[in-house]
């Protein structure tokens, strides 16, 4: 008669047999992933020596068979022992390398503490911040090595005076430093008579281009990865409540945080249950009409406010320019950023007042609508400012474009560092709005990063400023969280929101920046007396003239060919787009096919379950009939049935079928 232990032994032997042909790396991975106790795993890794079971008697009976197997296994091990030890040494060194990398990874310990106290949703904000920081570090390093260092070698002396106000306004002393595009030389730097020459114009364009291209590709890949993880089957398994129940965040360790989480969970469960009840409740026509009209009115008001703000900003910017021309007060430059910061602070608060008027069925929709309104506001303001700068460059030259762009960054600085910290916290707490609003904070980060990307062409040191700002922001947010302990009060789906934010970062933000830059490079006339592109009719002419020089050299004709026929021709891009569209369509069809297959398999599982229940009911009926006919032989037959069932190896639920039968009997009226 076979028992659980014996079944277990046979399963282990099968496992060992399957592990032998694997490479040692795969074997270790497979062993680690086994849901077994440490002792069993150790035995597996030693190559299948028999584990000491408690019932030695039973084990001895099977020892002969097993010893043959072990002998074979030991022989194999002897042959590949040196290979094993080499791979082991390699794995050890890889482990120690990853240890070192972990210890120097930025803020690793702080992030763990934050995750423990506040949960994964707050942690995702800080992870996003760290991710943006990596972008900026990379851009800074590239810019520094290829643009700034060569510029330093031919730098002229700075004759302007330095006053403290420059740190805020960014003009004055800084105008003649590497911060500004205007400072860069347009010449070809050459050291010594036979030294290699360094064309500053090309270096400038190509470096900025390289930064942005890398950002583009890494954004694309991150977005694809998040998308794949989170939106594979949105409609098949909605499983709202189940996920709530089973996705308890085990990383949260602080007592208050746990209590808060429990409270949040119960609130969400209640909301979910009420959603269920409300699904059946229907509103009367009048109620629907009133609700619809409130929505429409709210949207009209919010869009109206946004447009009014944009118009105000535009006229202020124009007025500002004239004001600056007539007056020479350096502090006056701060007027525009001040106004934009106030708008960015006050209008979102105003938008959140709408929730008193509008009633949504699900609180989640409220959050989304608020987010969308805020995003629209910010995008339109940035768009208006860009439009204004691009149109007015002809009047004032890129020096002031650089100024204004630097001003844009200062907008963000004032917005987040000063106002939120000092004034905002008091205001917001008194209004009773949530403290650490993840959505708003992430939007701020995205907004800032957009400004940096816009400005990077005119101020190559912007990534450095952004880096410093991100550092400061990390520590201030951290400290304010620890001191106030106000984690977000609304329950949150961390990873879905992250996907949404990265999508936001990519789509309006980065593509907008690319469009602006494209317009700048192809359509704007560089200023005539400063900057690396002085004297050219358009920025892009630097590339044209480079291609022309190359075409005179026989060794580089292939570059010219690529430029003229691939990058410069429309047909190539047309064909490329067609191919990409076709591939996308094919993948989409494959996904659809897989969805259908999943649905069919799911139905099959349900049918199998029904079959099983039917057969078992039949079996019970037969047993009952026999019980009535022959009460004495009942016990023997039961045992026979047990044995037959237990012989089905590999089916774990063999011994559990008995229990199942019992429970089915209990639950028979329901079935």
């Amino acid at each position: 008669m076979l028992s659980d232990d014996h079944v277990n032994e046979i399963i282990i032997d099968k496992l060992i047999a399957s592990l032998i042909p694997m490479t040692s790396r795969d074997r270790i991975k497979a062993i680690r992933n086994q849901p077994r106790t440490m002792e069993e795993k150790r035995n597996l890794s030693r190559g299948g020596l028999t584990s000491m079971t408690e019932n030695e008697g039973r084990a001895k009976a099977l020892d002969k068979e097993k010893s043959k197997q072990t002998h074979r296994i030991l022989q194999l091990n002897c042959c590949v022992q040196c290979l094993n030890s080499i791979s082991r040494a390699y794995r050890r060194s890889k482990n120690s390398l990853s240890e070192i990398l972990n210890s120097i990874s930025l803020w690793q310990k702080t992030l763990k503490i934050i995750g423990g106290k506040f949960g994964t949703s707050v942690l995702s904000y800080f992870n996003f911040l760290r991710w943006l920081l990596k972008f900026n570090i990379f851009s800074f390093i590239v810019n520094f090595s290829f643009i700034i260092i060569p510029q330093f070698t031919v730098a002229e002396k700075n004759t302007l005076q330095f006053t403290g106000l420059e740190l805020f306004t960014g003009v004055g002393y800084f105008r003649d430093t590497v911060m500004y595009y205007g400072f860069y030389t347009n010449s070809t730097i050459q050291h010594g008579n036979s030294g290699a020459s360094y064309n500053m114009q090309l270096a400038y364009i190509f470096t900025i281009g390289a930064c942005l291209t890398t950002c583009f590709f890494s954004l694309l890949f991150s977005m694809a990865k998040y998308f794949r993880d989170n939106f594979i089957n949105p409609h098949i398994y909605s499983g709202g409540i189940t996920k709530l129940i089973f996705c308890w965040d085990f990383t949260v360790t602080h007592e208050k945080a746990v209590k808060l989480k429990q409270k949040n969970l119960s609130t969400e469960i209640r909301e979910n249950l009420s959603e269920l009840r409300q699904e059946n409740a229907k509103l009367t026509f009048n109620q629907q009409l009133t609700r619809f009209s409130t929505y429409v009115m709210a949207w009209v008001v919010s869009t109206g406010v946004a447009i009014a703000c944009c118009a105000a900003v535009y006229y202020l910017a124009e007025y500002n320019l004239e004001f600056l021309k007539t007056h020479s007060n350096p502090g006056a430059v701060l007027l525009l950023p001040f106004v934009v910061s106030c708008i960015n602070l006050a209008v979102p608060c105003f938008y959140s007042m709408f929730r008193l008027v509008e009633r949504y069925e699900m609180p989640r929709h409220e959050v989304y609508i608020l987010l969308i309104r805020n995003i629209l506001l910010k995008i339109t303001i940035v768009g208006i400012l860009c439009y204004y700068w691009l149109n007015n460059v002809a009047l004032s030259g890129e020096e002031s474009v650089g100024d204004l762009l630097k001003v844009g960054v200062m907008v963000w600085v004032l917005n987040s560092v000063c106002f939120h910290r000092i004034i905002g916290m008091q205001l917001i707490t008194s209004l009773g709005l949530p403290e650490f609003d993840i959505a708003r904070n992430v939007l701020e980060l995205i907004y800032a990063q957009t400004l940096v990307w816009i400005g990077i062409f005119f101020c190559p040191l912007l990534p450095l400023i952004q880096m410093i700002m991100l550092f400061i922001m990390f520590y201030t947010k951290n400290i304010s969280l620890m001191m106030n302990f106000q984690p977000p009060s609304k329950a949150w789906r961390a990873s879905q929101m992250m996907t949404f934010f990265i999508l936001l970062l990519f789509f309006p933000s980065f593509t907008g920046v690319l469009c602006t830059l494209a317009i700048t490079i192809w359509r704007l006339k560089p200023s005539a007396d400063c900057g690396p592109f002085r004297g050219l009719p358009f920025f892009i002419h630097s590339i044209y003239s480079w291609i022309d020089t190359l075409s005179t050299r026989p060794g580089y004709l292939w570059v010219v060919w690529i430029y003229r026929n691939l990058i410069g021709s429309v047909h190539f891009f047309f064909i490329l787009t067609l191919i990409v569209l076709i591939i996308t369509y094919l993948y989409w069809q494959i996904t659809e096919g897989r969805k259908i297959m999943i649905r069919l398999l799911h139905e099959q599982i349900i049918n199998e379950g029904k079959d099983k229940m039917f057969l078992i009911e039949k079996l019970i009926k037969l047993q009952d009939m026999e019980k009535k006919a022959n009460p004495s032989s009942l016990v023997l037959e039961r045992r026979e049935v047990e044995q037959q069932d237990a012989l089905h190896l590999g089916e774990r639920d063999s011994s559990l079928d008995l229990r199942f039968r019992r429970s089915v009997q209990e639950g028979n009226p329901r079935a």
Binding site: I28, I31, R32, N33, P35, T37, M38, K41, R42, S45, R88, R92, N95, S96, S98, E99, T120, D229, N230, N233, Y237, S238, G239, G240, I241, T242, K243, I245, F246, C247, W248, F250, T251, T253, H254, E255, V258, K259, Q262, K263, L265, S266, I269, L273, L276, R493, S495, I605, I606, E608, G609, K610, K612, M613, R652, D653, R659, F660, G667, R670
Partner: protein
């Protein structure tokens, strides 16, 4: 990073490294935490493989587990005899599975065992009720709790046998991107 430690033999430490997701330093750190829980019980020399179990009360007082509503189940699942008293092997196993390097499959398996209060390899309605009560700590009424359990069984029970098997659980959970991150 050297071989200066005297707690384990070289082979023992290597075996631990092979069987868990931890590096040598992390294993030593975990050992010292284990030792700190019960300094009189746990010897500083494990080369002779002593049979030492730290009682559940001390394990449950660790800062990582102290406020976790499922700490008792976690200790029971990972302990050898299911009573919550853990040897060093169990301790390392527990942390290895809960670490961020463990694959989701493995975590799903153990999460299933944690939520299975009566250890019958299925999550039945009673198990669900226990889970929900522990999660919400008495905030929901009894009627709401049973409503929730009904809804969960509706959503997740794939083969419609009135309880969740490991496959049902896995199906549901591995689609949730927030699971045990």
């Amino acid at each position: 990073m050297g071989n200066k430690q005297t707690v384990f033999t070289h082979e023992q430490l290597e075996a631990y490294q092979d069987c868990t997701f931890f590096t040598r330093k992390e294993i030593m750190r975990l050992f010292y935490r284990y030792q700190d829980l019960a300094p009189q019980l746990v010897p500083l020399d494990y080369t002779t493989c002593p049979d030492v179990k730290v009682p559940y009360e001390l394990i449950g007082s660790m800062p990582e587990l102290k406020d976790n509503p499922f700490r008792q189940r976690i200790a029971q699942v990972f302990s050898e005899d299911g009573d919550g008293h853990m040897t060093l092997d169990n301790f390392l196993d527990m942390f290895s599975v809960m670490s961020e390097m463990a694959p989701r499959d493995l975590k799903a398996y153990y999460a299933f065992k944690i939520y299975d209060f009566n250890n019958d390899d299925y999550i039945c309605a009673w198990d669900l009720e226990q889970t929900v009560t522990k999660l919400t700590r008495g905030e929901l009424s009894a009627q709401e709790v049973s409503l929730v359990c009904e809804k969960v069984l509706d959503e997740a029970d794939g083969d419609h046998d009135g309880r969740l098997s490991l496959e049902d659980f896995r199906n549901m959970i591995l689609r949730a991107p927030d699971f045990l991150r």
